[in-house]
Amino acid sequence: MGSNEDIELLKDGKRQDGRDFDELRDINIEAGVLKRADGSAYIEWGQNKIMAAVYGPREMHPRHAQETTKAVVRARYNMAAFSVPDRKRPGPDRRSVEIGKLVSEALEKVVFTERYPRSVVDVFIEVLQASAGTRCGGLTAASVALADAGIPMSDMVASCASGKIEDQVVLDLGKNEDNYGQADVPVGYIPRTDEICLLQMDGNLTIEEYEEAMDLSIEACKEIYEKQRQALRDKYSTELNEDEIEELKKEVK
């Protein structure tokens, strides 16, 4: 939370990119983009571009990490070297290990792990282009990839951050808002049961501000949840129409 007096984050009640305080960036989700993985999803969230892939449930290696009564959800978060303006040194670092753990634990809350003892569900999150909010985008995409992989779960997780810039509580911080704002609160939300499965805070908020931020995030998560579901419906909506059948017949000829 660096502060810089020269950067004007709010102007005439709008944010730098012209958004309102409670407005999300554009979000596009596509399910099943990778052929080799059991399930996958791609999300574009503002300038963020994130790919998620799921393998499993499969045999857990190393064996000592197996749980005899349940499956382990093992998420790996990785940023591509070219995902940020200055080259990111490849490989796991403190931050990506933290996010991997966070996402694993958030997803473990919804996956019926007890159905696959001694197994592992591997989740890979690759950030291709980063612009604030990649852990939320990664978790959102990973949930879609899990559903695409046919993993039994009680619900999907939607995730979104909110925070404070120039003493104003706002939703879904952009890059500058994240870097020069006063607080950033990522939230993982389970809509069906109205539960929180991820919560962090960087910076300071009063209790009132925190409650306002949470309300913003939860409302946004519900919106994102709909987009996740639509992405899956788009992929799996069945029954080709007659034109498509004709086309198929032509293709065969």
């Binding site: 799996y236 069945t238 080709l240």
Partner: protein, 226 residues
């Protein structure tokens, strides 16, 4: 189809099933007296249970299903068989049609061999036993094996086996569809090639209406060539 009711709407994890007098079956769960879908698929109602017929995902082994596996490891008295499930299955020497001396397992089935086996038990630990000591089960020593998504297996078989018998008729091949999505094709090379192509076509267009006709057309046109 009697009690076998199919609803084409796609269910997503967490979707509530609006039926009070049903019990949660495969792919469903119950919370606070309501039934929800646990995974992506379509709803199937059968004898009082609401099930999700999965549209994606790995193979889930069920007792009594015939599958195609590859041997991954050998022990003195059993083989480990990969059947595309989360964990490998055990094929014990008592479950093969031969008298195998202790320690002589490798001379009957070796690592990498393909076998057609039946799942005899799956326990709550996901440990599986398979058998080969039954009519029709055997070591597969010729032909080829292709793999499709387990969710599409019913499509390749077709209603009452219509699709698979058509494939056999036109390609003049022996074809066995394992429930785990592995398909064994044996016969003349051209026939094998054609069958594999047709099966891939079925997999890619699994949801198409009138798929049988399209496949039939494809097979008719191509069988002339050999």
């Amino acid at each position: 189809m009697g009690t076998d009711e199919v609803d084409r709407k796609i269910l997503l994890p967490g979707d509530e099933i609006d039926e009070e007098d049903l019990k949660p079956g495969k792919g469903m769960f119950k919370r606070d007296g309501k039934i929800y879908a646990a995974r992506l698929g379509v709803k199937r109602v059968r004898s009082g249970y609401a099930n999700v017929a999965a549209q994606s995902g790995r193979y889930e082994p069920q007792e009594g299903e015939k599958v195609i596996g590859t041997v991954t490891d050998i022990n003195s008295s059993f083989w480990m068989v990969d059947v595309n499930a989360p964990n490998p299955a055990v094929l014990h020497v008592n479950d093969v049609p031969w008298m195998v001396d202790y320690g002589d397992t490798a001379s009957y089935i070796d690592v990498g061999d393909a076998v057609l086996v039946k799942i005899t038990s799956v326990d709550e630990q996901n440990k599986m036993q398979v058998t080969m000591d039954e009519e029709g089960l055997k070591k597969l020593s010729d032909g080829q094996i292709i793999e499709i998504a387990p969710a599409q297996v019913p499509r390749v078989i077709g209603r009452g086996g219509s699709m698979i018998s058509m494939l056999k008729k036109y390609t003049d091949c022996k074809i066995f569809v394992g429930q785990n999505g592995r398909i064994w094709i044996s016969g003349q090379l051209e026939g094998q090639y054609l069958a594999a192509k047709a099966i891939k076509m079925i997999e890619e267009n699994a949801q198409a209406v009138g798929l049988t006709d399209v496949v039939k057309e494809f097979l008719e046109e191509n069988t002339d060539r050999f």
